[in-house]
Amino acid sequence: MAEITVTIDTDQQKQAISDSFAKLDPQYLVKNPVLFVVELGTIIGLVMTIAPGLFGATGSRVYYAVITVLLGFTVIFANYAEAYAELEGEAQADSLRALQTEAEGKLLQNDDVDIEDISEDDYEVVASTEIEQDAVVFVDEGDIIPRDGTVVEGSASVDESAITGESEPVIRQSGGDRTSVVGGTEVLSDRIKVEVTSEEGESFLDQMIGLVEDAQRQKTPNEIAMTILLSGLTLVFVVAVATMFFFGEYLASFVGGFAGLDVAELVALLVALMPTTIGALLAAIRVAGMTRVTRRNVIAKSGRAVEAAGDLDALILDKTGTITTGERVAQDFHPLGDADDADVVRASYQSSLYDETTEGRSIVKLAEKMNGKVQTDGGQSASEELDEPGDSVDAPRDVSVTLDAEGLSESNFVPFSAETRMSGIDLSDGTEIRKGAVDAVEEYATTVPGKLRQKSNAISESGGTPLAIAVDGQVVGIIELQDELKPGIADRIAEIQKMGVETIMATGDNQRTARWVADQVGIDEFHAEFDPEEKIELVEDIQDDGKLVGMTGDGTNDAPALAKADVGLAMNAGTNAAKEAGNMVDLDSNPSKIIEVVGIGKQLLMTRGSLTTFSVANDVAKYFVLLPAILAAAIPGLGAMDILNLSTPASAVTATLMYNAFIIPLLIPLALRGVDYKAQSGAQLLRKNLIVYGGGGLIAPFIFIKAIDMLFVALGVFQ
């Protein structure tokens, strides 16, 4: 997977700073009620700085100026958090766009010419930008495909690593599910005719990136609920603090030497109590969450899709491509007759040494892996027991055997032929080794052990493929092939199950193969002999149980299910229908990436929840600091509440406002990165986050405020 990293340079920093001032526009800020109230408070502070005695207050102009500046900083820091995240998101989108390299295209004059006969006379070389929609271009071996399009004739292997980061070339051909090609990718072999499907600048990728950018600006449904919550809290505190002014007037009527509460200090109290921290970071958390998805080369068309990913109850995973690589690999060697482990391993190794097929290479690899391990059980071979096939994926049996590649150089490799349905090797000493389908080898061999059938049937029944191997006409054993699992997939599945997500595998393969794969990786539920068209029913069945379901897909027949699923991750290599139906597109076309997207979705929600808890928990400390400070003149006894023992009321108010403003930039990195997330059960996560963010939220302001106060004492200000 190619991870796109974006660095924000100083120009962009400047841009973010200027954006933070532009966002002071009340018409813009009113969308964030928390910050809007802070801005109104700043204006009150400003008025009091100009006319300190306005509300009967007695503080100095400098004090009010300090309060005003700190309130202003609170808003600007909040705006900066948002602007910075937006710039990062834009930069991310630009870097995706840059993937589409400029190229030239061979515009066909006449598209009836047979693809094999196209010569230089049949096309005109033009810049890719000049090619119109529906035009047909010719792409020869070594050419860059100029624009997004559909293969209308021919078939070619295409290097899409520029888009996907996947180095393995893919086949693109006319007809079927593999017709779509992406501009900027290179044809490695063969030639194709491509009908251009998009206008310049409106390629599929362009449109997708446009969607991402829109989505980053839209509040998600959960964020709207959160905004209501924060607005509600703000309103509560506005009532609580505004009424204090009148309570102060009442107090002034019977407490000598007290003339009422200072309006600027009340504004300071209000802003301190309001959930400014989370209010400031809410937008940045959303944008950063989307950016984290983009960074993994997944285009999420809406923020809702990312949040839904965090909330999935079930994931439908295709077998091939997601859990298995689609290749079959050697899983085990089973000796037969008089042969022992060493015989069958050596024979298999030798016969496959020059076999370049995936199967052949996997046999060599497995033999090498088994060799060299010390034989511990006195050579008791498994030959006579029908051990469960396939139960030794990670720990191949130890077999001591000399795998001698020397001497093989003069031997003669016999490639697979359709006629014999076998491949093998003729060694220089005349030994003839053949491997192939069981019935083919049976036909060829002169000595067939009685257990061959029994054993090979057992392997088939467990979902594997048996290959018989014979040395000089004598069957020595069976090589068991199984679907190759994607590396680390079992761990990923275990991880996602730990998050409480049910995993469901769907495959067109037979029951036995499906069961074997499901058992290997610990899938909760599987559907074998599954018709892709049934996927929509499967999705609906799961949704009827009230569950949120995610799936991946690439074919046109996946499109209805992709659209129906709560999270539909379409593969970029798939058809346009699939890509339009899904609410996310993976540019790497790696279906197992949906597991990562689930983690990102959870992290997005967790960051929002944890920072809210932190922000609101801060209020406890702020009450303890500000109430005694503001009421110092009215109720001197309230000093008992001042557990921090701060130097002066002015210092307490200033320190609290400083903490309140500067905690925002301090938390920007956390908001952008997201809180740490490890797959854990809900109960564990709640306990952990409650301690870190709830407990931290209670303690942090006490520490910071006391530290700032001590600094003021050291500097001799507010004393």
């Binding site: 609580a240 009148f246 309570f247 929600l605 929840g609 808890t613 309230l638 809900g682 996560l685 306990r687």
Partner: protein
């Protein structure tokens, strides 16, 4: 006889309460099982509840036939709300008419007059809303008014509250089905199976302990040692007292409420009545767990509220068994023995501890009955009373209490789910902005209803003139009055001349808004949620029965609800406490 040590009284009370909450909770869960759409069954040893059908079903069927109620007619949230409002308007009109014209009605044995329009408005609103705030002295009502006005309202208003619970449970037990049940059926079941039989039991205990119970006379003439002839008002004391306590009502026949011997004669009757207050509200929370199929969740919420309740009761006991700063006399050589605690305004048959426990039972629910003079409490004790108000009366009222508590629980589930990376969900229903908007409406009601009038009152000379002790204590007197009205509690701090046009109107509006705005919002929430799909809980969901959840719930209640009132409390009891005087 010496009282047991405070810690013993405290421990005995909460132990008995916990057992009773469990039994009454299972019983209440059984009462509304079908109406809540729940497949709950009582545990084996309580299965005899089900045999009670033989007694109750015929009574209910008789009532349905008599009143023309069709219990199978289901209502959506709007229909349900309409039924609640219509039913409550009827109660209000009944009360208003009886109160204004009681002089012309029968059974007026001592010749009391009708109430003025503003007082009748306040009284009718206060009793319709299950608040029972009294701006009159109980002695100014006739036996007819007590029996057929106040007495009936005391049964019908908690029944209204009870009827809301199964409807709200439907929000979570329904699968995409907007029907919440039949309001009138739920009222009848609550009356027949819960309020009437248990009140009867309490009334019998009270009569055995010496309470009076009559509707045939208005007063008793006694020859006393010191004052010669004394006329003592009598009436249906035992019956009214039972439902007054059990139905979170609180308005007594005597001005001195449960401090008088006819309402609350002995320490045993005092214990029974103290227990009667929180049983209805806490058993409803327990029943909630049973209805939604997760008893341990019910227990978790009960635990969270028990923590707050026990902590504040502890503060009150410490405050009231301590010394009263106002009674420490220096200078003239006299001194008051305060070794047993602050006895000012307390009955000697109860003492400071039992009075403190009662105080938090009455403000920890929306009851409002009193057995001591709250204005005579120490600053610390008064703080605990007002803090209980600030949490919206901890467990609040019968029926409405559960719904109000669930607002905090939903808010906790919202935050908690986000903290574990899930979209907010409670009991399988997704929480979106539509519901959260109404949750906040409910949460905003108390601060707005209390603080804004408070700000007006403390700068309005007419209100200041009503204070007995202008200063911090006067601030508390008004704050208590507004809290008492806006939290539908009804108890009086006293020391405030509250029978004025200003307080009648302000408090009258407060009690109505405090009752019906949340009910409307809560039924709307139920309507939204009932129509949603049920998403199953998984290992990745928020567990709503863990200590972490209980901790988060307590945190949410304290920060979102109670701390909002901290500035106001600073100007009242905290200021008084820290300044060392009223």
């Amino acid at each position: 006889m010496a009282s047991p040590p405070p810690i013993v009284e405290y421990a005995v009370f909460f132990t008995i309460l916990a057992v009773l909450v469990f039994v009454a909770g299972e019983y209440l869960a059984w009462v509304y099982r079908e109406q809540a759409n729940s497949d709950h069954r009582p545990p084996g040893y309580l299965s005899w509840f089900e045999r009670l059908d033989e007694i109750f079903t015929p009574i209910e069927n008789g009532l349905y036939r008599l009143s023309g109620i069709n219990p199978r007619r289901e209502m959506t949230w709007k229909g349900y709300l309409k039924a609640v409002l219509v039913f409550n308007v009827c109660i209000w009109v009944l009360l208003f008419v009886v109160l204004m014209f009681q002089d012309a009605l029968p059974m007026n044995f001592v010749g009391v007059g009708g109430e003025s329009w503003d007082l009748a408005f306040h009284t009718a609103s206060s009793f319709t809303s299950n608040t029972n705030q009294q701006h009159y002295s109980g002695e100014t009502l006739s036996v007819f008014t007590h029996t057929f006005g106040i007495g009936i309202a005391m049964f019908l208003t908690p029944a209204t509250g009870l009827a809301l619970m199964p409807a709200f449970a439907r929000a979570f037990t329904n699968k995409e089905d907007p029907r919440l049940g039949n309001f009138y059926e739920n009222v009848v079941r609550g009356l027949v199976r819960f309020l009437l039989p248990i009140s009867l039991l309490i009334a019998i205990i009270l009569m055995a302990e010496g309470s009076v119970q009559t509707i045939l006379g208005g007063q008793l003439t006694a020859n006393t040692f010191t004052m010669g002839i004394q006329n003592i008002r009598i009436g249906p004391h035992a019956g009214i007292e039972a439902i007054k306590m059990f139905g979170t009502n609180g308005g007594g026949i005597n001005a001195a409420n449960a401090a008088t011997a006819f309402e609350n004669p002995t320490p045993l009757s005092n214990l029974v009545l103290t227990l009667a207050m929180p049983i209805g509200t806490f058993s409803a929370i327990y029943a909630w767990g049973a209805w939604v199929g997760n008893r341990s969740h019910g227990v978790a919420i009960v635990a969270a509220f028990f923590v707050i309740y026990m902590a504040l009761t502890g503060v009150a006991v410490v405050g009231e068994t301590g010394t009263n700063a106002g009674m420490v006399v220096t200078g003239n050589g006299l001194h008051v023995d305060q070794t047993v605690g602050n006895m000012e305004g307390k009955e000697t048959r109860f003492g400071p501890t039992a009075s403190a426990i009662w105080g938090l039972s009455t403000t920890g629910t929306t009851n409002g009955g009193v057995n001591s003079m709250h204005n005579s409490w120490t600053a610390l004790g008064a703080f605990s009373l007002l803090f209980a108000f600030a949490t919206n009366n901890i467990s609040n009222g019968v029926g409405t209490g559960l719904l109000n508590i669930l607002m905090f629980v939903i808010l906790t589930a919202f935050i908690g789910a986000l903290m574990i990376g899930r979209r907010p969900q409670y009991l399988g229903k997704k929480l979106e902005w539509q519901e959260m908007r109404y949750v906040f409406v409910v949460i905003l009601v108390l601060p707005i209803l209390v603080l804004i009038p408070q700000a007006a009152a403390v700068v309005y000379q007419g209100a200041i003139d009503s204070m007995n002790n202008p200063g911090f204590r006067g601030f508390s007197e008004v704050l208590y009055e507004f809290f008492s009205a806006s939290a539908n509690n009804g108890s009086g701090f006293e020391g405030l001349g509250d029978g004025t046009l200003f307080f009648n109107l302000v408090n009258g509006v407060q009690v109505l808004l405090a009752r019906y705005v949340p009910i409307t919002a809560q039924l709307a929430i139920a309507g939204y949620l009932a129509n949603k799909k049920v998403s199953p809980e998984s290992k990745g969901s928020l567990d709503t029965d863990t200590p972490a959840f209980v901790g988060l719930l307590i945190g949410v209640i304290i920060i979102v609800s109670a701390l909002v009132f901290l500035p106001a409390l600073v100007f009242g009891p905290i200021g008084e406490l820290l300044s060392g005087g009223i």
